[in-house]
Symmetry: C2
Subunit: 258 residues, 2 copies
């Protein structure tokens, strides 16, 4: 029931250039497929599944335009990205999320500058969903949000958060000029997060894993925040991972402004 063409297509979607070309991406495994069925059923182009998993698909949620493709385990193994495949995979259209015109930004949104690790990005999307920050603005050189590992780590939150790739510098300068949002950055020379008065509407900029925020952006941000280090070995303790830092800053911003 699955064609060689379709198998080729799924395999091609492991690469960004084909995700861009076809405007499609993959969500694999029960958790993600169920999230997709529940949040964005009309975006699912087709579902590929083995006979063992068929019973576990919520057939009532399947959109009329979604093709259902039963495959053998052998066929499934030709395109799965997982080491212990669950036998179910969805191919989805990328959601259309053009920048709203005129620009309308929710009360708190995240800005990612060159985040490279798919696991970090996915975790940040999950955090954004939890903290009701349903827009993420990314620099053009941030890792592709439709990378299978990002989708996986987001645990389905990617279906509920709008992600825009834009020229950050320009975008932030405009916001700064119009004074519509407070802009908070993160920096090792910043002000103590816990004693800084935070206000919304706000944008939080999170920087690259190793290099931090671009210097350009540090200048644009109104205040750069620092999570204080309580370590007994201050000279040795690693800086916090960017997704840890994101969790702590998002929580503190919500705490102070709710």
């Amino acid at each position: 029931m699955i064609s060689t063409q379709q198998i080729k297509l799924i395999r091609a979607l492991h690469q960004k250039k084909y995700r861009d070309k076809y405007d499609l991406f993959i969500a694999e495994g029960f958790k993600l497929v169920n999230e997709a069925l529940s949040s964005v059923p009309s975006l699912i182009k087709f579902l590929a599944f083995t006979s063992q998993t068929q019973d576990q698909i919520n057939i009532h949620k399947v959109h009329k335009n979604t093709s259902l493709l039963e495959v053998t385990e052998k066929e499934f193994n030709k395109f799965t990205l997982q080491t212990t495949p669950q036998g179910i995979l969805a191919v989805l259209k990328k959601p259309l999320t053009p920048l709203p015109e005129p620009l309308e930004i929710k009360d708190i949104s995240l800005v990612l500058d060159k985040i490279q690790d798919p696991g970090n990005f996915g975790t940040i999307i999950r955090l954004a969903d939890w903290f009701g920050m349903n827009q993420i603005f990314c620099s053009m050189n941030t890792v592709d949000c439709y990378n299978a590992k990002v989708v996986q780590a987001s645990m389905g939150a990617i279906f509920r958060v709008n992600i825009h790739y834009i020229e950050l510098k320009e975008f932030l300068n405009e916001i700064k000029q119009n004074k519509t949002h407070h802009i908070y950055g993160t920096s090792l020379n910043g002000s103590n997060l816990f004693t800084t008065n935070l206000q919304k509407p706000a944008l939080i900029i999170l920087g690259n894993e190793s290099g931090g925020m671009d210097d350009n952006l540090i200048d644009v941000s109104e205040k750069n925040l620092l999570i204080p280090n309580y370590s007994n070995y201050k000279d040795k303790s690693e800086s916090l991972n960017v997704s840890m830092a994101a969790a702590i800053i998002c929580a503190e911003l919500r705490r102070q402004t709710s």
Copy 2:
């Protein structure tokens, strides 16, 4: 310069039973080896490295009892656990961290109930180091802290945090009776973290990734905390990952009590 015996030993240490038998574990890559040299040089039994990496070892920090073993790339590939090996690996004695007698617990410590994912555990160790919580008490069925992925994810913090595997229920009951520490748990039915008055000295209990804290422990804890959900899709948004939750709770406890 490396014997077949030593290669076999390193490979054996990928498994918990041999780590327990020999009381040894592995730290691989520049970052971890340098952390080990800087924090626990006397625990390093031997360093295996390829000729290309030799110059990058801080020879002044090598302890007199550490054997230096130059290996070929081919030999290194026989025991590395990494897909892109850096050509440097340390075999270390497990630090001796018996429970202090009489029991002495630092002002804030973490308690892990059946954490299973090595990445989560390593991240929590890194957080503990950052927030100056240098003791972690784990249930016997928590994943082995000397698992290579835990060591890796800790980014070296494992050399600065004391980790004890104990019978949690008994341990916590004793603390509860003696009233030496506040005991905070985490629960989806708990009190709002941001509006609960937190005090130290304290223990924070973090529960298993899917099942949360054991019911037994929920009863022992003085207050169970909940990170409020601000999602626009509350019925759908995933609970936060345990290491995200740990980051937010540790930060809030430090914020309130500093």
